[in-house]
Each structure stands twice: as structure tokens, then as C-alpha cells.
Assembly symmetry: C2
Homo-oligomer: 353 residues x 2
């Protein structure tokens, strides 16, 4: 990414060539593996990127919230809210309206939530969420049949099961997480079958584990981060450094002998930092130069070897977790051949409800 | 904070009575100590709160960016950008326009930045930033005179020195940080005097260290978080739990025997977590019930004793670092006596440039 000199820092840049290569590569992988691709739109929150994913063959989109579904219904007619949605009267009304506009599926992991969905949103299509080892939401695979049956009895249409193998985020964790994902989805599907319900959809996938997915079990992949990649993916080896498509352009505002401070802080990069990450992000193309300290408007980068950049220099920082980064921005500056060609609105920024 | 049942979660609530008490208390402390109060508006980013701080006697406001100054110039005629601002032609023009509207002061910590400010923004008033131990931006106190002289020679008007005692954020760190702050500002002021420049303003202060500030050296306090407080302040003992004025209302979306998962994740709470924090936030009034794991739309709260809340229950979560939380929201829901009375726009959300 070359940084156009007419940009005001801090701001986010997207290298469009790299973005398109990332979209094409995951699409080709899904086709070759025989799985449907349903990218998670929470990463980019942008309509033009959603449209590009659909053009490249995505079967539909994944979203995290009803509000995100409302945004992406503008460009996509097949949406899955991969979340155990709780419906009160107001949210139920929104779900009902969405289901009239697009093919809609939502997640469920309790009989209580199934009852609330049926009562307030009507006869939705649902997938039962399974915990395949990430220990967040979802029931243990052995309980999938019980939840599916409760959902069916409440009046919902059960289409299958899903899981998020989030425990793939860790050193050498992708392969075991993908194995756990397949095992859990298989047990869950058997559980549905035992109740006379078919798990036609067995949905999984994350960016770091996608390549290891067991396509003999998993029918649908839901990676999100792959469109941009980020410092976490580079650290995990899930993405080569040259496939990073989004950076924060940041100006050096203070310099000392062996470190610089830049103007892209946590209100630009986001503050996500898992224990295994070497910092809060790194300098593009220099994974060894990490953001060692981060405050709201300051990113400190130790610069051990050679002369430090000068005050006023502009650098490209790779954020740790790009989903958080994008959600802090109103727009993405799209770069092709070193030139700003477009600005994309982050339409679903803050769409949390 | 009682949570009105007509709110859609996740969302942010402000208890107006507690907010007003916090504003009044810090104003009274500043008067009693003989220091000017210049609250940092990056915390709340809201015009009505800024106006309340000014009504309570604040001498002006602190902001972090030129964009924040542009927002708060609507309600405040005396602004300090407590940041080593780098001015190119575009930012210089904005600073010049601001300086015509309000009394404006800007931070500087290098001769290069001073030259750029003078060239692009004209004869601004500046304060030299000093590192009093936080190791972020600012020069060592012994170099304050050198930077002040460079600024004056470039054509800027030097009004004094400032520091941020950010190393007050840690267990038992407030008192030594405040002592370091005073010592550094005193050395820096002497350095200016030795160059024939007067440090009429010696500005410092943070929420955790405010009460320990040495008013024989420090002339101006810049706390920000005190208006709302947050889980960090409660953990540090800088604020009693009942003085927390902002929470995220969150719905339980999934429950297991000994934990619940709520719908306010990192895209609502923010992901800040210093090493000494017990979690990513806690349940209001129950500092022992912490958010142990946080993803974008999930907050996991282990619930060791007694029955867990039910799916669909709404809880109030206290975020770790309220500045990050507010910057993720478009509006704050203002509550008085358990009822929603107003919505305040987060006018400076995302104002990072």
C-alpha cells in the first residue's frame, strides 16, 4: 500500500487489488472443496464489498445482528444471523419484516429463545448453535436434538446446525479446532436425525481454520476476516503479510532515539490483543516492528535498528483485529495503484442491535 | 441505574443524577485546591455534558484532536488540544480557523512540529509536552526549555508546560505518579525560566491521580473519565462503585449452569484491558462478577454463586474504559429516576483527525 499524500491521518486504506485477490481466493477454495461460502459481513460492514463477495459466488452473507441484516438486505437476498438472537416484541417485528424481504435464518441455542422467536417473529428458519470448543454460546453437540425439537415444536423451521470454531485463534490451533468443529457438527446432525429432523445445513468456518475444514461434514463456510486479513492472521500464519488489504495510515507525531509514536491509537486500530499477539498491530511489511503500547490517540512503535522515521512521516499500520478497526471508521479509502479511487461508507458501523 | 424496558439492547445509559454529582464534585475539588479545571472532553464527546462542565466552573475544555476541537468550539471558547499536533497544510488551515473562533492552545514536543505549526497554522499558543513517567509522548523535563525556545523562535507563543500522568493507571500508582508529575512540571518550568520564558500554565491531572495532585506546582487539572467513571476506576479505588454514571444495557442471550453470555461485546464495551484489570468490565454493583471473555457481540460473565439470570434478562455492564465505550456509540440514553428522559448525540464520535 502506497499512501496518497492528500489523505488526512489517521484513516483507513484498502488496497483494492489485494482485496479482490482475497475474495477470489476464498471463493475458489470453497468451490474446490464443495462447500457453500457465506462470508461474515461484520468484518467489512460495506455494501460494495458484500456485492463483490456475492459476485464471486458467495451463496449469501452471514451477519451478527438484526441491524446488520437490515443493512445488508439492500444487496443480499439470503442472510444468516449467526447469533442466538433474543426476540422481544420490537426485535421480533424487525425480524418479521426482514423475513418478508429476504431469505432469513437465525441462530438459536435455547428453548426459551426459540419460544420468544416464534412468538414475536413468527415461523422463522433457524440453525441450532453448537459449542465445538470455543466455550462461548451454543449448546454441547449432544443437546442439539433437544433444542431443535423445542424450536420445531415452537413453530420454527429447523434447517440445520452451526458453530464458530473461534478456538482456531491461537498458535497451532487451526487444525485441532477444525477437527473439533467437524466432530461437533456431526454429533449434532445425528442428534437432529434422531429427532426426525434433518441438518441439511452444517455451517462452520473461520478465517484461520478455513483451509483445514472437513468438507465431508461441513456444508457451509462463514469466514469474515479473510477479505482484509490483519496482524492476528499474519502472526498465526493464516495469511502471508502481502495479503493484508487494510491498513491505518498514521503520522509520526513524536520520535525518540529508539521509538516513534503515531496518531492512530485505539480509537482507530481497536484495542484487541490476545495473549499470543506480540503487540497491538505492526508496521506494514515489517511484522517485527510492533505497536508495543496503545492509548486512544497514540501508538508507540519501538524501532530498535537503524534511524527512526521523522516526525511528520506517514506509515501504514496493520491492526490486530480488522473487524474492530473497521467498526470505528465512517469510511474506507480505496486505493488502486497508489491513488485514492473511491471512498466506501462503512454502512453497518455500530449496527449492534 | 434502573433499565427502562423500552430500550433496545445493547445500548449505553447515563444516570443523570450521578453524572451531575460527579461533575459537581470535581469542580468543587478544583476550587478548593486552587487549580483551574479543564476537563478532557474525549471521554464524553457530547455537547450537553461539555456545557454542564463549563456551567459548573470549568475554565475551558481539553480535547485530543483538531476534529474534537472543531466539535466543541460550538459550546466552548477556550480549548486546549493536549496532543503534539503535526500540522500539514490542511490541518494547519483548520487550526488557523479554530484560533479565529476560540482561544486555542496546542501541545508541542519537538522543534520540527513547532516549525510545522508556525508555518501552516500561524502564531498559535502552545504548551510544551513533558514526559513525567508515562513514557508516551513529551520530552524529558530537562529538555522543556530547548523545545520552548524552538517554538518561540518559530513564532509560536509559549504559555507553559503540560504532562499526562498516565502511569497513575495501576494499583497504588496514583500517589507516586502525581509526585512525578509535580516534579517534572517544576523542572520543566525552571527550564523555561532559564530561557527567559514563563510557564504560567503547568497543566496535569488524570482521574485516578487528581486527588493527589500537588497544587503548589500544578495550575490546571485535565481529568476526563471522572464524569462517568468505569470499571478501571472502581478497580483502582479511584471511584466508589455507586459513582458509576454510564453502563451498557445488555440482554442475556445464552445461559449455562455457571455463566451467562450477554449481547454487549467489544463493539459496544470496547476491548481495553490492562494487565491489572480482573476482566473486561463488570456487572453494575457487583464488581466481583466480571466479563471474563469478550468478543464482538458476546460478553461472557461467570456466575459462580446462586442461580444465573435467565435468557432474555437485561443487565447493566460497567465497561473497563469508558472513553473507548462512548466512542463506539452514536448516542447516550439519559436516565433520571428510572425513566429515559433524553438522548444525547455523541457528536465527536470518531473525530480522530
Amino acid at each position: 500500500v502506497r499512501i496518497p499524500s492528500d489523505l488526512v491521518t489517521p484513516c483507513l486504506l484498502v488496497d483494492r487489488d489485494v482485496l479482490e485477490a482475497n475474495i477470489a481466493e476464498m471463493a475458489a477454495f470453497a468451490v474446490a472443496s464443495g462447500m457453500a461460502l457465506r462470508p461474515h459481513a461484520k468484518t467489512h460492514k460495506c455494501l460494495p464489498i458484500a456485492a463483490a463477495q456475492l459476485d464471486a459466488g458467495a451463496a449469501g452473507l452471514t451477519v451478527a445482528t438484526v441491524a446488520e441484516a437490515e443493512v445488508f438486505a439492500e444487496v443480499c437476498s439470503d442472510l444468516f444471523i449467526a447469533y442466538p438472537v433474543w426476540a422481544d416484541a420490537a426485535r421480533g417485528r424487525r425480524l418479521r419484516e426482514l423475513a418478508e424481504r429476504v431469505r432469513l435464518r437465525v441462530g438459536v441455542d435455547s428453548a426459551e429463545a426459540a419460544d420468544a422467536l416464534a412468538r414475536h417473529a413468527g415461523p422463522l428458519e433457524v440453525l441450532v448453535e453448537i459449542d465445538s470448543g470455543h466455550r462461548r454460546t451454543g449448546v454441547v453437540p449432544e443437546r442439539a436434538g433437544e433444542i431443535a425439537l423445542a424450536a420445531a415444536r415452537a413453530g420454527l423451521t429447523v434447517r440445520g446446525v452451526f458453530t464458530f470454531p473461534g478456538h482456531a485463534y491461537g498458535p497451532d490451533a487451526a487444525r485441532p479446532a477444525a477437527a473439533g468443529e467437524a466432530a461437533a457438527l456431526a454429533v449434532a446432525a445425528d442428534g437432529l436425525a434422531a429427532c426426525g429432523l434433518e441438518a441439511g445445513v452444517r455451517s462452520g468456518g473461520s478465517t484461520p481454520s478455513a483451509a483445514c475444514t472437513d468438507a465431508s461434514v461441513v456444508t457451509e463456510l462463514r469466514p469474515g476476516v479473510y477479505v482484509f486479513s490483519d496482524a492476528q492472521q499474519v502472526t498465526l500464519g493464516a495469511c502471508p503479510p502481502e495479503r493484508v488489504a487494510l491498513v491505518a495510515a498514521a503520522t509520526v507525531v513524536s520520535a525518540r532515539r529508539d521509538a516513534v509514536v503515531l496518531d492512530a491509537g485505539s480509537k482507530v486500530l481497536g484495542a484487541d490483543r490476545p495473549g499470543w499477539a506480540p503487540g497491538f498491530g505492526h508496521v506494514l511489511g515489517r511484522p517485527g516492528l510492533v505497536v508495543s503500547a496503545l492509548s486512544e490517540h497514540h501508538a508507540t512503535v519501538p524501532w530498535p535498528d537503524g534511524p527512526v522515521p521523522a516526525v511528520g512521516d506517514v506509515l501504514a499500520l496493520v491492526p490486530n483485529h480488522v473487524c474492530a478497526t473497521v467498526n470505528l471508521a465512517d469510511e474506507l479509502n480505496v486505493i488502486r495503484g497508489g491513488k485514492l479511487t473511491e471512498r466506501w461508507t462503512v454502512s453497518a458501523r455500530g449496527a449492534n442491535t
